[in-house]
């Protein structure tokens, strides 16, 4: 393979428009192929980066251009709020399922195990409420939420971050974005229930006025 056919982690990050850390995580997760030189430097085939980018761009494009409006927004017919939870820990997913189901909310609940899967799911069917873990392999919660916040069509989505990251680590990532609610883990389910009830009530009001 010629030198021009491979790139560094930094160059891959620039091509993809994501952080070096995210590229490293995508490589470690096997999403983008790569190898290391004898000196320990990571080398990534440019073709693999572009292949990933075309898939990623397509999903972003789907979100912006080809997505259908939510039934609830368009007609007021969908009384149930749609909740999407992004969580990579299977124990936490099971607990969210159990807890949220026990609250009797007028809502549908879906799960994604990582940020990449979540972006595809959001493009396919926009949720009204997003609960996202932050630290995940590959595309993490911050990148999912920033993608959503950059999209005007998703401006009315209720977004909450849930994480056990210490305050300084959150600050290092730019803090909690404006308009996003933060829940520290272990999650106080009473607080989460109150938040989701408020979100579902707002969804119902919006449906009634549509």
């Amino acid at each position: 393979m010629q030198a021009a056919d491979v790139c560094t982690t930094q160059q891959a990050a620039e091509i993809l428009g994501i952080s070096v850390t995210s590229v490293q995580q995508l490589v470690e997760a096997g999403v983008i192929e790569a190898w290391k030189t004898r000196g320990g430097h990571r080398r990534i085939p440019v073709a693999a980066v572009h292949a990933y980018k075309s898939g990623y761009t397509q999903h972003s494009q789907d979100m912006r251009d080809t997505r259908a409006p939510r039934p609830g927004k368009a007609s007021g017919a969908d009384a149930l709020a749609s909740i999407l939870v992004i969580e990579d820990n299977p124990m936490e997913r099971a607990l969210y399922q159990q807890q949220i189901a026990s609250w009797g909310l007028p809502a549908r609940l879906r799960f994604c195990e990582n940020g990449y899967q979540a972006l595809m799911e959001i493009a396919r069917d926009q949720p009204d409420i997003l609960l996202s873990d932050i630290m995940m392999d590959g595309i993490d919660g911050y990148e999912v939420i920033r993608t959503i916040l950059d999209d005007p069509l998703l401006a009315d989505m209720h977004i909450a971050m849930l994480s056990s990251l210490p305050p300084q680590a959150l600050e290092d990532r730019g803090g909690v974005p404006e308009g996003v609610v933060f829940f520290a883990k272990p999650v106080n389910y009473d607080e989460l229930r109150g938040y989701l009830r408020a979100c579902c009530a707002a969804h119902a009001r919006r449906g009634a006025s549509a």
């Binding site: 124990m91 680590a169 272990p186």
Partner: protein, 126 residues
């Protein structure tokens, strides 16, 4: 008939915490314990590899993942240990040489109590 013996206390986890989070659903409690037993070995392997490589980002990620699970079990000593490791890694520092051995020992104690909890927690506790 012999009187029922009180169960020995748990020192490394708090099963009641997990049972409460599971809405006192015993089948779910046991399923969560089993999920922990199924997933912890891989998480530990990732942590061991990260600590041996000394890569801060990998240490933080692998520790954070394991911490999420053991926190649900109420394994407070292990959680504190992993929090301290992540803080060290964020400062580009490495843990003491025996850190891994001690953590593996602690995880084995946690695992033993998780297995015990799965057998001891019955309808009476729910």
């Amino acid at each position: 008939m012999l009187p029922a013996l009180s169960p020995a206390p748990y020192h490394h986890i708090d099963p009641a915490l997990l049972l409460h989070a599971a809405c006192h659903d015993l089948p779910l409690f046991r399923a969560l314990c089993q999920t922990y037993l199924d997933t912890a070995p891989d998480m530990l392997a990732r942590l061991e590899q990260a600590v041996r490589s000394g890569t801060p980002q990998a240490i933080v990620h692998s520790s954070h993942g394991l911490r999420g699970s053991v926190a649900l079990l109420g394994a407070t000593a292990l959680v504190s240990r992993l929090v301290a490791l992540e803080a060290l890694a964020r400062q580009q520092e490495r843990p003491a040489p025996d850190w891994l051995d001690e953590t593996v020992r602690l995880l084995a104690q946690v695992e033993a109590e998780v297995r015990r909890g799965m057998t001891e927690y019955h309808d009476a506790q729910a």
